[in-house]
């Protein structure tokens, strides 16, 4: 029992931090700029492929620095020459713009790297088990993931609370012209924020690439789970996103560990239910539905607490 709880907690925390790593850039873009950036996963994929390409030439560590820089620049260019123009036409237009971008990025990645997975490996310097609990190894690379997530969280927290960038962006959502007339270069700040968001996605890509599968469909497979993290955490709240990542990580891990089903719960009743349709519902285990629990959580939280866990506003 202790073994299951301990291991599940550990796995949950590790998974949660991976989620946060992937979602941090989206939190920045979505909750600060209000842009539903569907291309976030594509930037993440670009990060992974750039990381792969750089790491096989000069090594993982230069890749960890260079890939996010490159993707950040791409993000800046996307904002400057595309999104900025679309911005005045509203959120739906922005969303579709990034939606179109996902197609383009995926196709370009396929042209350059093909459709098959690439052999993106954990750097040898981190390729060893860091510790072992109950005969289960925890690779050093996972710890590195965790530390990076924590570092990013701390750094973003400092930037958001210690500078006025967050305020400027938030103010510009309602009165962009006024913010400019107070002397703030709104355009440049938006560009920076978007660039940083893209770069953060790329950091996640560089790190998750070796841990997961680096393939041209990895963006599409990531799905909307990151939106779930940001929204559950609460729009505009970095700590919220952090908390939500942890929560989802833990909930999912513990759900997998459980084999309970309605049939177990209401055993005798279940026997009577003849319809095959009901039997389906009856016999589904918690573990089976683990990965869709976050969506359930999303719907429930939005219904009962639309601001999310720690959000300051409902939009």
């Amino acid at each position: 029992m202790i073994e299951i709880v301990l291991i599940s907690t550990l796995n949950g925390v590790l998974y949660g931090m991976l989620l946060f790593l992937m979602a941090s850039g989206l939190t920045i873009i979505f909750s600060m700029m209000g842009v539903l950036n569907f291309a976030h996963a594509s930037f993440y994929m670009l990060g992974a492929f750039f990381g792969f390409e750089i790491s096989r030439r000069i090594g993982f560590w230069p890749g960890l620095v260079l890939a996010p820089l490159l993707v950040g620049l791409i993000g800046v260019a996307v904002e400057r020459y595309g999104l900025r123009r679309v911005h005045r036409h509203g959120h739906v237009a922005e969303l579709l713009f990034t939606f179109g971008l996902t197609f383009v990025i995926q196709e370009v990645v396929e042209m350059v790297w093909g459709k098959l997975p690439v052999d993106y490996r954990v750097p040898p310097s981190l390729d060893f088990p860091a510790f072992t609990i109950f005969a289960t190894n925890y690779p050093a690379f996972k710890l590195f993931e965790l530390l990076t997530a924590l570092a990013i969280f701390a750094a973003l927290l400092v930037v958001v609370t210690r500078t006025r960038i967050g305020l400027v962006v938030q103010a510009a959502l309602t009165h962009p012209a006024m913010v400019a007339m107070l002397g703030h270069n709104v355009d440049r700040i938006f560009m920076l924020v978007f660039g940083v968001g893209a770069a953060l996605a790329a950091v996640a890509g560089v790190i998750a690439g070796p841990a997961l599968v680096t393939q041209s469909n990895m963006a599409a497979l990531l799905g909307p789970i990151l939106f779930v993290v940001v929204v559950i955490g609460g729009l505009g709240s970095l700590p919220g996103a952090f908390l939500a990542s942890l929560l989802i990580g833990l909930v999912q891990t513990f759900a997998v560990a459980s084999n309970a089903s309605l049939a177990d719960l209401l055993g005798p009743l279940a026997a009577g239910s003849g319809s095959s349709f009901l039997r389906d519902i009856w016999n589904v285990t918690v573990a089976q539905v683990a990965p869709i629990i976050p969506y359930l959580l999303l719907v429930l939280i939005l219904i009962f607490r639309p601001r999310g866990l720690m959000g300051q506003r409902e939009s």
Binding site: R164, Q170, A171, H175, A180, L182, G183
Partner: protein, 231 residues
């Protein structure tokens, strides 16, 4: 301080400003009067760069036309819009802090100063700007612009929605601002207050200036008042 010559501005295809000329000296309070819709607000906005002005705008000896709004603001022109443009989701204090320009630490007008002038705002320091009463928003928007330590401040209808008593206070405040070395361009509906505190007044009609003079000149000119101010 500021001189505007042959200023034109358009909204889409409609030609709103059709050659506006005026100037403001150091420490001077200048009012622009006129009926609704003649383009007074547009004049101020065009000076701030949005809508894009055509013509000559010189501030502290530097041509300003063609610069972006934030560059103009950084040169030292402050603008208080008619619609107040309070950032509703930010707290009162955060609204004030946004008045500081990037890199600017403190200024002649600090948050403390605001609290002193309008103790009412201090009580609301942590309330969202959107929750403020109409009049409180008006106070906040003026103080927010002052935080940026402008050399010239352009204020659009500052007394709208203010109680008579508060109107007086604003009048005094404007005079104090001017005493501290800040020039003021005031767009005002209420003649009483404008005439009381202005050094000079312009009257605007249909996109250009139709009268220039001291308040006393205007009081003496019944015809202008009737035709262009409807009083």
């Amino acid at each position: 301080m500021l001189s505007v010559r042959d200023l034109h501005a358009y909204y889409g295809k409609s030609h709103i400003l059709q050659g506006v000329n005026f100037h403001v000296g150091a420490n001077e309070i200048v009012s622009i009067l006129g009926r609704n819709g003649v383009g007074r607000s547009t004049t101020l906005k065009a000076i701030m760069g949005d809508p894009a002005p055509r013509g000559e705008i010189v501030f502290k000896g530097r041509p300003v036309a063609g610069l972006k709004p934030h560059e103009i603001a950084r040169l030292g022109i402050g603008y208080v819009p008619e619609e107040r443009a309070i950032f509703p989701a930010l707290t009162v204090e955060q609204n004030l802090l946004l008045g500081l320009k990037p890199g600017q630490k403190a200024s002649r007008w600090s948050v403390e100063e605001t609290w002193r002038l309008f103790p009412q705002l201090r009580e609301r320091a942590n309330a969202p700007g959107g929750a403020l009463s109409g009049g409180e928003q008006q106070m906040l928007t003026i103080c927010r612009t002052l935080m940026g330590a402008p050399d010239l401040i352009m204020i659009d209808e500052p007394t709208e929605g203010l109680s008579p008593q508060m109107v007086e206070r604003i009048g005094d405040l404007l005079q104090e601002i001017a005493r501290r070395g800040i020039s003021i361009v005031l767009v005002e509906q209420r003649l009483v207050i404008a005439l009381r505190i202005s050094h000079r007044v312009y009257v605007m009609g249909h996109g250009h200036i139709v009268f220039e003079g001291t308040p006393a000149d205007l009081m003496a000119n019944a015809e202008v008042r009737r035709e262009w101010l409807e009083v």
